[in-house]
């Protein structure tokens, strides 16, 4: 207010008016800039929250449709196939076999595209299934069945617990599992397109508060000016939706694509404890 008042004070010299005018401009610009930055930060946070909610809703819908196809439609079609086969004619057996083949092929294809059912089991199971005979998988031990959930520890007093917190298996949300699986699927498929690739290595490691996913191959290097294809754009979008980052670089031999997802490590045991009361109610006993 002072600058404005001073700037328009009757009798103020021209240079005084210019001086205060400049000061006023600088102060207003700073205030407006700070306000805009704060507004932008709030907007970004809100956008990130909404993006995660949209992703979550999309993921739930995909999972439900995939579950329905895999758990209801496929068994029903198999049942019909059995009824046809029970007609006990050679034609019926041919039709039954063909129906089974088509059912398995189509249902698997569609349900896998929506949400690979292997992801319902674990990230380890899904990645092992995805990469069998295609790539070597290096998975953080705390994401594998070789790390205990601590089921027995859940039922003993704290002084008798066998495992330290750092030894226990880590829980990865189904949404993040899907994201990791999706980027690995895209990046491995991309690496496989290079005809000179002999070996692909996928590593998924928990490093501090992030999950570091790397896919490296021993094929030819990337050109210095590279146009990103659909696969890389998909990977970029998935990682960005999770607030992560995606980089791709040439190695002395081959190429390394790397996605980093923010991740708050929590053990599966903690997650089980949170769900425990709900399951206890169902069974009337201690459930792990």
């Amino acid at each position: 207010m002072i600058p404005i008042a001073s700037g328009f004070t009757p009798g103020a010299t021209f240079s005084e008016r210019v001086f205060w005018g400049v000061i006023e401009g600088v102060v207003l610009a700073a205030i407006t800039g700070l306000g805009l930055k704060a507004m932008q930060r709030r907007r970004n946070t809100r956008t990130q929250e909404l993006a995660m909610r949209a992703l979550d809703a999309e993921s739930v819908a995909r999972q439900k449709v995939a579950e329905y196809l895999h758990g209801t439609v496929q068994p029903r079609l198999h049942l019909i196939s059995r009824e046809i086969a029970n007609l006990n004619t050679s034609e019926a057996l041919v039709v039954s076999t063909r129906l089974d083949e088509v059912t398995d092929e189509l249902i698997r294809e569609v349900s896998h595209a929506l949400h690979p059912p292997e992801l319902f089991v674990s990230l380890e199971f899904a990645l092992e299934a995805l990469l069998a005979n295609r790539a070597e998988l290096i998975l953080d031990k705390r994401l594998t069945a070789n790390s205990p959930v601590g089921l027995v520890d859940l039922n003993v007093a704290s002084e008798d617990k066998k495992y330290a917190q750092s030894e226990l298996r880590l829980e990865v949300s189904s949404l993040l599992r899907w994201a990791i699986y999706s980027v690995v699927r895209e990046l491995v498929a991309n690496a496989e397109k290079k005809t000179d690739v002999k070996k692909i290595i996928v590593s998924v490691l928990v490093i501090d508060n992030s999950i570091d996913v790397k896919v490296s191959d021993d094929g030819h290097s990337l050109p210095s000016k590279m146009t990103r294809g659909l696969g890389h754009l998909t990977v970029e979008k998935v990682t960005a939706d999770f607030g992560g980052s995606f980089r791709i670089k040439n190695l002395p031999i081959g190429v390394e694509a790397r996605c980093v997802f923010p991740y708050e490590p929590k053990t599966s045991l903690e997650a089980i404890k949170r769900r425990r009361s709900e399951i206890d109610k169902k069974h009337g006993a201690s459930v792990v």
Binding site: P75, D100, E124, F125, E128, A129, A145, N146, K282, V287
Partner: protein, 132 residues
């Protein structure tokens, strides 16, 4: 013991095992959660467990609590039993995961429409080989 959420398939398995005269089904559970509830409620004793546990891979009420993880963890804890894992999913990954733990007394069966009595009994017997 059978852990299977599909009641009809569970009954079918029980009738196949019981009628084989080589097995006796001592208990059936409709989920891996119900199985572990009973196991821990029963004092988590080796004696409570049967020689063979036939389990559907995805029989958990909680999708983050699959049969493979629970059963492999009990074996990691030193409990001895054979596992026959069944699923409509490709079980190659399960075999690979189990192999990392030695994979003794572990067999898988794909729940295909062509699954028959002989295949089930053969796989069950194979999973028990050398169990002590």
């Amino acid at each position: 013991m059978i852990v299977e959420d599909d009641t009809n398939f569970s009954k079918l398995l029980k009738s196949i095992f019981d009628s084989s005269e080589q097995f006796e089904v001592v208990n059936s559970f409709n989920s891996i959660d119900a199985f572990s509830a009973a196991f821990f409620a029963g004092g988590s004793n080796q004696d409570w467990l049967s020689d063979l546990i036939v389990a559907d891979l995805l029989s958990g009420e909680d999708v983050n609590h699959d049969s493979l993880s629970v059963l492999l963890e009990l074996r990691l804890e030193g409990y001895k039993f054979a596992i026959l894992l069944m699923s409509g999913l490709n079980l190659g990954a399960a075999e690979k995961i189990a192999r990392k733990q030695g994979a003794k007394n572990f067999e898988t069966l794909s729940k295909s429409p062509r699954l028959n009595r002989e295949t089930i009994i053969d796989a069950a017997l194979k999973s028990l080989e050398g169990l002590n």
